[in-house]
């Protein structure tokens, strides 16, 4: 009797597991299929872009579409601009956010809590709310159509400051006290103790911020006018305009190329992302 019910239980568990696996595989295919279609269609001849049946697997190998992307628009310079902006913004986040986080987490000064709340409220002040005065300001400063404007507007990362502060608050006081006894100053403590001990939170905030910036379309749309200064997302609309209905396959070739850096970011970033989010913690 006892063994039978155990067998039934095991069977139930196995059926449950099988169901789970089938479910995940089906949903996973739904998530993956669009990429397959984009890739396969990017290799079709222009006149066949949309011919039926649609391609889930490559039916042609028209590599020319990929050259077309670079011939029609300065696609490589879109890449460079995107990289420049995203890398400088990421570096800025590493330095400025960790500095502010250290101050909010470990130093006592008047107005600390209020200032922290004010900064955090920045999460509610969305791009669209500040865009118009930012645009007028940049126009007066003659900084429209300048990639550095995009960098400047992305330098404050309230969520990053929050995540890094969380982790720094959890670091034991003893390290800091020992260093202070030895006559270390605040900058030494920040750069030699606090930053190395908060690497997970700093990495995760940097990866998240890099990705948000890499994907940003709204601000380039407002602030950038010429092909020379476009970042990749805005450049994609330039490509659609230049190649457009003449060759949808070439547009999709551009789409595929624009995904390459994302693959690289994932491979290098995903470990930090999971580690950082779990050690940084979202509680309170």
């Amino acid at each position: 009797m006892a063994t039978k019910s155990l067998e039934a239980k095991m069977l139930g568990k196995n059926v449950g597991r099988l169901f789970l696996q089938v479910f995940l595989i089906l949903v996973g295919l739904l998530y993956f299929a669009p990429f397959l279609w984009m890739f396969s269609t990017s290799l079709r001849l222009a006149k066949d872009s949309f011919s039926l049946p649609p391609a889930l697997f490559p039916t042609a190998f028209e590599i020319g579409n990929y050259f077309e992307v670079f011939n029609k628009v300065p696609f490589f310079s879109f890449f460079l601009n995107s990289f420049k902006v995203a890398v400088v913004v990421a570096l800025g986040n590493v330095i400025f956010s960790s500095m502010a986080a250290y101050s909010f987490a470990r130093i006592r000064f008047p107005g600390r809590n209020i200032l922290f709340l004010v900064l955090l409220s920045g999460l509610m002040i969305t791009n669209q709310v500040t865009a118009i005065p930012q645009f007028i300001l940049m126009a007066k400063l003659h900084m429209i159509d300048n990639t550095w404007t995009l960098v400047l507007l992305w330098l404050v990362n309230p969520l990053g400051i929050f995540l890094i502060r969380q982790q720094m608050m959890a670091i034991s006081d003893s390290y800091e006290e020992a260093a202070l006894m030895d006559g270390a100053n605040r900058w030494w403590i920040y750069s030699r103790i606090m930053v190395p001990m908060s690497v997970p939170a700093i990495s995760v905030s940097t990866v998240l911020w890099f990705v948000a910036n890499w994907n940003d379309f709204f601000r380039p749309l407002l602030f950038i006018n010429t092909w020379e200064n476009m970042t990749l997302p805005l450049g994609m609309t330039a490509l659609t305009g230049a190649v457009g209905s003449g060759n949808y396959s070439a547009v999709l070739a551009g789409v595929m190329l624009s995904l390459l850096p994302c693959v690289v970011i994932y491979i290098f970033g995903q470990r930090y992302l999971l580690e950082g989010l779990s050690t940084g913690g979202l509680k309170q």
Partner: protein, 294 residues
């Protein structure tokens, strides 16, 4: 120099760069939006104060109700969908035993978050095409009629929701996954010893322990959905008619296509106030359902 004083100096110096940038690029512009909304502003000619007239226009603008309605509708469908689907996927992936399978599915569901939004939105626009799109071709396979995804005031919402779930589910998924992993195993072991069913374990342990993550995810999703811009910009351009035009899109069109900076600012200010109120309300309500433990 006493310690308190030198601490204060150090404290301010460390936040100085962020604080200055925040004042110039965020707080300043927020005040700017407020001032602009009480004026008739022009970049080229002179500007003047007009009192509340932009707000009178806002309340008598017949399109305003439709556009706020659309935005609200996006919030109401997208936020629950992202919470439920994200949670289901996270629980399922966490339920897998093999590390490699976990990695594979984590990658599959998270990768679209990284994919350049503009690029994949353009591609999805092609996939939603009524006559030649991938999706309608599949629907044709099972014998159903082609769906006018982007040309019907009803289906555009389904289309945007599908795209949004595909593109952004990784966000809530990854937060839930991390949240699940941080729940102590001992809680489950104790519950199993007491004979709790899987259902009970989910509702009595998983959900309460996950509530801080849930709160964070919901607050972010609402702020994100309230400013939804890229999806309608690329997929529908707000159409057909005004049926998927959102507040974000309207601010952009008013200010940057028609150069009506002042009216655009009034609309932007109204959006800010709505987001502020809703977020404050959520922080008030969190005491009722968020469990911080200990």
């Amino acid at each position: 120099m006493n310690k308190k004083f030198s601490d204060a100096i150090a404290g301010y110096l460390f936040i100085l760069p962020v604080l200055l940038l925040f004042i110039v690029l965020t707080l300043g512009p927020l005040v700017g939006t407020l001032l602009l909304s009480f004026s008739k502003f022009s970049l080229l000619s002179s500007s003047r104060w007009v009192g509340l007239s932009n707000f009178f226009n806002l309340f008598s603008d017949a399109r305003m109700g439709v556009i706020y309605g659309n935005t609200l509708f996006f919030v109401f469908i997208l936020v629950p969908l992202h919470v439920i689907v994200g949670l289901v996927l996270a629980v399922s992936v966490e339920g897998l035993t093999k590390g490699s399978a976990k990695y594979l599915f984590r990658t599959t569901f998270f990768f679209p978050v990284l994919a350049t939004t503009a690029s994949v939105a353009i591609a999805w626009g092609m996939m939603f095409d009524t006559s030649f799109g991938l999706i309608n071709w599949f629907i044709g396979l099972i014998g159903a009629k082609a769906i006018p995804w982007l040309n019907s005031p009803v289906w555009v919402y389904v289309a945007v929701a599908i795209f949004s779930l595909w593109k952004f589910i990784g966000n809530s998924f990854i937060y839930f996954l991390v949240g699940l992993q941080s729940i102590p195993v001992e809680l489950y072991e104790a519950a199993m010893l007491d004979g709790a069913s899987p259902r009970q374990r989910f509702f009595r342990i998983t959900l309460p322990m996950l509530s801080p993550t849930m709160f964070f995810v919901v607050v972010n999703l609402i702020i994100g959905a309230a400013q939804i811009f890229d999806e309608p910009y690329f997929l529908t351009a707000g159409g057909p008619g005004d049926s998927s035009r959102t507040v974000g899109l309207y601010i952009y069109e008013t200010a940057f296509q028609y150069h009506n900076y002042s009216y655009g600012s009034a609309v932007a200010l109204s959006l800010f106030l709505v987001i502020l109120l809703v977020t404050l309300l959520q922080f008030k309500l969190q005491k009722k359902w968020v469990f911080y433990g200990n």
